[in-house]
Amino acid sequence: MAAIRYGDRLYELRESESVLDALLRAGVPARHSCKAGSCGSCMMRAVDGAVPAKAQTGLKDSWKARGYFLACVCHPDSDLEVAAAEDDAEVPATITSLDRLADDVLRVRLRCGAPFEFRAGQYVTLVRDCQLARSYSIASLPEEGEIELHVRRIPNGRMSGWLSTEAGAGTPVSLLGPSGECFYVPGREDQPMILVGTGTGLAPLYGIVRDALRNGHRGPIQLFHGAVRRDGLYLHDHLTRLAAAHANLEYTASVLEAPDAGDAVSGPIDQLILRRFPNLDGWRGFLCGDPALVGSLRKKLFLAGIASRDIYADAFLPSAT
């Protein structure tokens, strides 16, 4: 089996063990969250040795060239010397405000202490001083100056709970990234677009919709937000006004639990969408939020006619142990 050199120690990899798991097993406090090659939290840098291509899938070319890889999906065939992601991959930032958008949704605004290029809809990995790392999608546009995230409070959540109760304006954090392909690519301005988010899956979509409008997108833009209960539609009034101001934007709110739907539609969001849009040939689609729903909707929209290269999806995978 291959061995990993990290710092001044050697770590033997067990059969089918990832670099991340080997380090964690030995008690190294290596950053991680999803353990599925998706969130970017576990990024490390190879100093010497061959990194399997699979461990670099989805990383920017410039990062690949510098040897960055995702430790949770890295199963090297031969010895590898690795180092923590360098400071140049990490940007210091300060929380500027924290407010409640709903009972369990926080809006987190951050100012970066160094230039940080991103597209609305990509995600950043937020790192606390204790090295805990979690990924969040960007709801703001670069020219807005601050980075806006929508964070759902999870019971006993180590990051979301900390943000809700302990962090405040002025708290320092750092950011890794950005990562992800889920953003508006200018061009094909007349193409119809459908965006579907559940819960805080709305965050990237809110950024993408405004990015598309700002880029002069002319085709119809169908934005769907799904929540379990009516009070989870945390940007309802704001999005209703945004849609009223743009002829090509339509906003549909849907609530799973019928009794309190109010002015939203009730029922499963996937059925609602496929009833209204049985044929999506030629569309562009964006899907974010709950992993099971993102996975199944992705398949359903594909079968309704969207080309797979026109589907952009980010499943909000939870942390894994």
């Binding site: 099971a292 996975g295 199944s296 992705r298 398949k299 594909f302 079968l303 080309a307 797979s308």
Partner: protein, 126 residues
């Protein structure tokens, strides 16, 4: 299957571009065909699509590194789900109709079917 003069078939079909053009079409057929869709129920579409491309590249006579043993191992879990000759027939049929819709001639379609056919026993673990 390596015995066939298959590189020219791959070129005649249009190579990697043809695979790219065929994959969505073929994958949609597979997912909506009641005979075989249940074998493809996994939620992870990216992974499934990558495997469809591998399948099409192989069937189109393109370059690949799969051995008979890989085909056995890769489909062993499907045998437990009841995979049999009728499913191989269905996949070969869907492959043919995909190519027909893309305008391929019957001669090339026959050659593709023959490549798929040559893997039947491995796929079915015989």
């Amino acid at each position: 299957m390596h015995l066939m003069n298959s590189s020219s078939l791959f070129e005649q079909l249009g190579g990697a571009d043809a695979v790219e053009a065929a994959v969505d079409r073929f994958y949609r057929k597979v997912l909506t065909d009641d005979r075989v869709s249940r074998f493809f129920d996994g939620v992870d579409m990216d992974r499934q699509r990558a495997k469809q491309k591998a399948f099409l590249t192989m069937a189109f006579g393109g370059p690949h590194n799969y051995t008979g043993k890989d085909m056995r191992d890769g489909h062993a879990h499907l045998l437990k789900m009841g995979l049999d000759d009728s499913h191989v027939d269905a996949i070969i049929e869907l492959l043919g109709s995909t190519l027909r819709e893309m305008g391929a001639g019957e001669d090339l379609i026959g050659q593709v079917a023959a490549i798929a056919e040559s893997t039947r026993n491995d796929v079915l673990g015989r």
